[in-house]
């Protein structure tokens, strides 16, 4: 775990800038396909991944860039993957919903809601068999918690005490459908008890709170005590995808959540409580912004994979 709150701030900024600049690229018609923005949820990924090492693995969902960056994926090849370019981490064939790097424990994203949960359990089984204290993390939305794969995963993980850390980012909407229309019980974390594991609700916009709760879950998994479900209450600032007119919610609600900005919150703490100069933070912000801008230029300038490459690697040697 990093002790340096400035480093935490840098990671939050990296995701913030990545999402903001991608949204901008999308608005200018420079981004291919869907873009599922992670803007507003930065503290979830950073808080969870801070307690992980390269030997720990994460399985992500369709809204994955925050997870990838927080886990330490190299920015340029990740960005190129988002644009479907040959220089991407997966040669551009994964695209916006799929990026992986096993060397740092990123086992990929998913285009299937709930699809990653059983896979994370399988990775946790491997970790358990290895006996080296590694942990598997599954990131998923509250929408995914209504999929059968969630219940199946929770049950077997608890029954087998798998070193699994289930991270539900509850951003209140599954596509256009508000959470309260599909579930009667507002706290998903409560479901943990029914499966025999601890569940906890945490403010997903408070990176330090997330980090503490995650540290408990990770320690529990590492010591062989089994899985934990963490529910992070948060909000996606944008629509389900960029271009979504967001008719299903009010601008007032959006503004309320933006006032709880996870990035600005840390900035304020750094200045007020740690006495860090605003100028130092501004310098960091400029530096991160240009790192992302360069990555986007790299991605846009990179060539597309040749169409014939679609025929390769259907099977492994």
């Amino acid at each position: 775990m990093t002790q340096d709150p400035l480093e935490i701030y840098r990671r939050l900024l990296l995701i913030r800038e990545c999402e903001a600049q991608l949204n901008d690229a999308f608005a200018k018609n420079r981004f291919p396909g869907y873009l599922h923005s992670y803007l507003g949820q930065e503290a979830c990924a950073v808080g969870v991944c801070d307690g992980l090492t390269d030997s720990d693995v994460i399985v992500s969902n369709h809204r994955g860039r925050g997870h990838y960056l927080a886990k330490g994926m190299a920015v340029k090849p990740m960005m190129a993957e988002m644009f479907g370019k040959a220089s991407g981490v997966c040669g551009g064939r994964g695209g916006e919903m799929h990026a992986a790097d096993p060397s740092i424990g990123v086992l990929g994203g998913n285009g299937i809601v709930g699809g990653g949960l059983p896979i994370a359990a399988g990775a946790a089984l491997s970790a358990q068999m290895d006996g080296r204290g590694a942990v598997a993390v599954a990131f998923f939305g509250e929408g995914a918690s209504n999929n059968g794969s969630f219940g199946e995963t929770m049950n077997v993980a608890a029954a087998w005490k798998l070193p699994l850390f289930l991270v539900c980012e509850n951003n209140l909407y599954a596509e256009m459908t508000p959470f309260d229309q599909t579930v009667a019980q507002p706290d998903i974390a409560l479901r943990a008890a029914g499966y025999g594991m601890p569940g906890e609700v945490v403010d997903g916009n408070d990176v330090f709170a997330v980090r503490e709760a995650a540290a408990r879950a990770i320690a529990r998994a590492r010591s062989g005590e089994g899985p934990t479900l963490l529910e992070l209450k948060t909000y996606r600032w944008g629509g389900h995808f960029e271009g979504d007119p967001r008719k299903y919610r009010t601008r007032e609600e959006e503004d309320e959540w933006k006032a709880r900005c996870p990035v600005a919150r840390v900035r304020k703490i750094l200045i007020d409580e740690r006495g860090i100069e605003a100028a130092q933070l501004t310098a960091l912000e400029t530096q991160v912004a240009s790192e992302i801008a360069e990555a986007i230029v790299f991605a846009i300038d990179s060539p597309l994979p040749e169409p014939e490459t679609a025929l390769s690697k259907v099977y492994a040697a």
Partner: protein, 324 residues
């Protein structure tokens, strides 16, 4: 040489591979102390212990998903889905996850996963336990689909499947489980993707899969007495299909019949027939014929299974028509 049942051949294959390679693990419903719903995992729990042989909850999606995640992180899992009819419950993990992971991530992960499942054709156990879904899984790129017809093939193919770096759906006909065959004691593998000529002949190529192979061979005996020699080809691996061996045979015989327990419409027989037509149309003296169950679910009761599936008599009649 030892006389082995198909079922024990399967067990031997898993035991040998688990002895050879610590990363091979077995996961499924009742596979551990119980020894498998069909007895096809007997002794493995005692030998390899609870870490490597695990009973799961009745959660088909997680069973395959555990295999996928474990395969991505260094294991070679064998997972058991009791009946092929249950694949619908875990099709996401099979089709979207296992089959595509190597492809999506540009080769960053291998997927050495074997999904052992059974097909209960001719057992008469009703509409949720009698289906032939080999065509459904064969339609998914990235998966390999294997369907052995003899104990020796079952052993050699399963060992090869366990060593393969791709997800393999391995389909066992439960009706074949008790069939016996002499199997050599020395280790052997049967390569995936290679068809086997089960009987040579000059007049008609009969492509038969799974349970239908023995029936085709029985038909061959009858036809031989009439002076008609059929060549019986068992693809053994349904996907990728060894169409070269099939076409080569058709070039010699100039007639082809495909016999499957896979449904006629959009089925395996349709695929084999279409491939033959595309590649060897001008070698054919007759249109390719298919013998497959008609397009209906399967009711409870053996008599229905018998009525719906091809048998030696219907194969003989179909061959006679082709020779007419």
């Amino acid at each position: 040489m030892a006389n082995k049942t198909f079922c024990w051949a399967i067990i031997d294959a898993m035991r040998e591979e688990m002895e050879r390679d610590d990363s091979v693990i077995l996961i499924g419903e009742d596979v551990a102390a119980a020894g498998g719903s069909f007895g096809a995992t007997r002794g493995l729990f005692d030998k390899f212990g609870p870490a490597r042989v695990r009973d799961t909850p009745i959660s088909e999606e997680i069973i395959v998903g555990l295999g996928v995640g474990a395969a991505m992180t260094g294991r070679r899992p064998i997972v058991e889905i009791m009946f092929i009819d249950f694949l619908g419950l875990c099709l996401d993990q099979i089709a979207n996850q296992a089959a595509k992971t190597h492809y999506i991530y540009d080769g960053l992960f291998k997927m050495p996963l074997v999904i052992r499942t059974s097909t209960a054709v001719e057992m008469g156990i009703g509409p949720h336990h009698s289906q032939s879904w080999e065509a459904i899984v064969s339609h998914i790129p990235g998966l390999k689909v294997v369907m052995p017809s003899t104990p020796r093939d079952a052993k050699g193919l399963l060992k090869a499947a366990i060593r393969d770096n791709n997800p393999v759906v391995f389909i066992e006909h439960i009706a074949l489980h008790r069939v016996k065959e002499e199997i050599e004691d020395d280790e052997f593998l049967i390569p995936l993707g290679k068809a086997d000529v089960k009987r040579e002949g000059r007049d008609v190529t009969v492509v038969a899969t799974g349970l239908m192979v023995a029936r085709a061979l029985a038909a061959a005996e009858v036809l031989s007495k009439e002076g008609v020699e059929i060549e019986v080809i068992d693809p053994r691996t349904i996907s990728p299909l060894d169409i070269d061996t099939i076409v080569e045979s058709v070039r010699k015989t100039n007639r082809a019949l495909v016999v499957t327990s896979s449904l006629k419409q959009f089925g395996l027989g349709s695929e084999v027939s279409a491939e033959i037509t595309e590649r060897a149309f001008f070698d054919l003296d007759q249109p390719v014929k298919r013998l497959s169950p008609p397009f209906t679910p399967v009711p409870f009761g053996r008599q229905f299974d018998e009525y719906l599936n091809p048998n030696a008599d219907s194969i003989v009649s179909a061959v006679r028509e082709l020779m007419a």
